[in-house]
Amino acid sequence: MAEQTKPFDSKLQAAALLLPTIVVLVAFLYYPSLETFRLSLYESAFLGQDLRWTGISNFVELATSSTYRNSFVVSVLFAGVVVIGTLVLSLLISYMLFDVDIGSSSYLVAAIWPYALPPAVAAILLNFLLHPNLGIFTHYLELLTPWTLDWFSSGPQAFAVLAIVAIWKQLGYNIIFMVAALNNIPETLTESAQLDGVGRLKMLYKVYVPLISPTLIFLVVMNTIYSFFSTFPLVDLMTSGGPSGATNLLIFKLYRDAFEFSNYGLASAESVILFVLVAILMYIQLRATEGHAQYGA
């Protein structure tokens, strides 16, 4: 990056231009985040009016609480299922879109629209369509398979339903990035493999997947963050964490501890744990993309 001479040098003007962004970030992002760290070391009562220093006992409480440990395990499993499910499905769809090429613009919009789908709407739609008694999907599923859909009372089924909705909503975002990455591969890199007459599926995972791996790593990170942070509406509107904690994701437990039980100290400790998680994920992404920079578009 050649350093060009910059046209303006008034430091006052520069500061004034940066001020709105900095003020908002400090007031609504940095300050509350630091407060989260502080509050996590206190026990709170009376809607946070009464604070008592307790050191790390909130964290100890979480570490020893079977409810929290359950939420942690459920969230990690959920993230695993959602990340893998989303990647596999969107890779297949993206590859088909990339392969046919012709008229792909209208195809592409028809495939990426779930990016605009509000999670709350996704939840409500499938609440109804997969309803154990009224859902039309349920009806045909039970007609065509030996299964009985009863996710209002079966934990594993509720978990699966939630994962399906989460994957559905996330497909659009993934397809956007995968199609772009596939289109960016220089043809010289794939020509020889094509001449060899390698089958399509083999081409996909032997040739294309390695070539777009930086994008895939980026998507693994973004999908993991999504499944930890953006799935609140799904849990809130579909399962409320049940049955018996089977879908009690960390983000939902945090919400209830904070705003149903007004346990601000404990909820803040849960926020701190989520922060550590994002930090680790962002770090992984940073390191991974650095290593692959030379292949990057």
């Binding site: 060009q4 046209p7 007031a27 609504f28 985040s33 509050l39 739609l125 109804f128 926020s271």
Partner: protein, 291 residues
């Protein structure tokens, strides 16, 4: 076969490859259409059900357009406050889009075109906020809104979203890709920063600005957790939380699913239309984000 350019292949070769490719390609098209139908099926079914009466909905396999026509939509808009929720969602999203794009353009202008001490540090300070999504700061943010007296107001819905690392990052990337000769010309003519922004930068960044607007609009419209926490007065609520009220209000007796589907379709329409109309700038902007 030293050279393998396309023009070298004989007609015989070509016809063979076409007949080889055709069935394969057909399978690919069928695969795409099946995937697209599967992804759209819940939405299409919801639209059908949104025209049905409750008793029609309870005949599970009834897939005809219902006898309600659009009256479920009318009911939702007039009797369930959806008009209010929609207005609130629109106002919130537009304030966030305009505010975020505006102040991020200013910040990027300072970062790219001003001799700035600690430029790297300032940029990192902005970028690090990517580590602080709403759930990480939700309790203090909620308390802050209460202390400021902002609970139940548009300020609470928009304030925390108005600055963003992503928007500053994207505009900075874009500005840095503008040819330096152009900047040099601007400098020679002694153009002021305001004119430079409005006459040079913004016209040259239309696609990028449109892309950031689309991303921000969809993101704002789809927010659920923060409006749920920051607003407890129904008349100030946004439509995403509004559909949950709709679902919750009907616990007793037969659930009016037709009505709920109509509400859900209403809540989906604005971001969907924006995506369809403006998918080009959106895709271009995402392409920059991954670089």
């Amino acid at each position: 076969m030293a050279t393998t350019t396309e023009t070298d292949s004989t007609p015989v070769d070509e016809s063979r490859t076409i007949s080889q490719r055709l069935p394969d390609n057909l399978a690919m098209h069928v695969g795409i259409i099946l995937s697209i139908v599967a992804m759209a099926a819940p939405l299409l079914l919801a639209i059908i059900m949104s025209t049905q009466t409750t008793s029609e909905v309870y005949e599970v396999t009834n897939l005809g357009l219902g006898s309600q026509g659009l009256s479920n939509y009318q009911t939702v808009l007039s009797e369930y406050q959806f008009t209010t929720y929609l207005i609130n969602s629109f106002v919130m999203s537009i304030i966030i889009v305009v505010g975020k794009v505006g102040i991020s353009l200013l910040a990027a202008l300072a970062l790219v075109y001003y001799e700035l001490p600690y430029e790297r540090a300032v940029f990192m300070f902005i970028l690090l906020t990517l580590l602080l999504p709403v759930p990480v700061r939700i309790v203090p943010l909620f308390q802050l809104m209460a202390d400021l007296g902002w609970t139940n107001t548009m300020l609470a819905l928009t304030g925390p979203y108005i600055a963003s690392a992503t928007a500053v990052f994207l505009f900075r990337q874009h500005f840095m890709s503008i040819p330096s000769s152009l900047v040099e010309t601007a400098r020679m003519t002694g153009i002021g920063p305001a004119k430079f922004l409005f006459k040079v930068l913004i016209p040259m960044s239309k696609g990028m600005i449109a892309g950031v607007c689309v991303i921000t609009y969809i993101y704002s419209w789809n927010q659920f957790l923060w409006p749920l926490v920051a607003v407890n007065d129904k008349s100030s609520q946004v439509v995403q939380v509004g559909i949950s009220y709709l679902q919750g209000s009907a616990q007793a007796g037969l659930t009016p699913w037709g009505l709920i589907m109509a509400g859900a379709c209403i809540a989906l329409l604005p971001p969907l239309v924006v995506l369809i109309v403006l998918h080009r700038p959106l895709l271009q902007t995402f392409a920059v984000q991954r670089k």
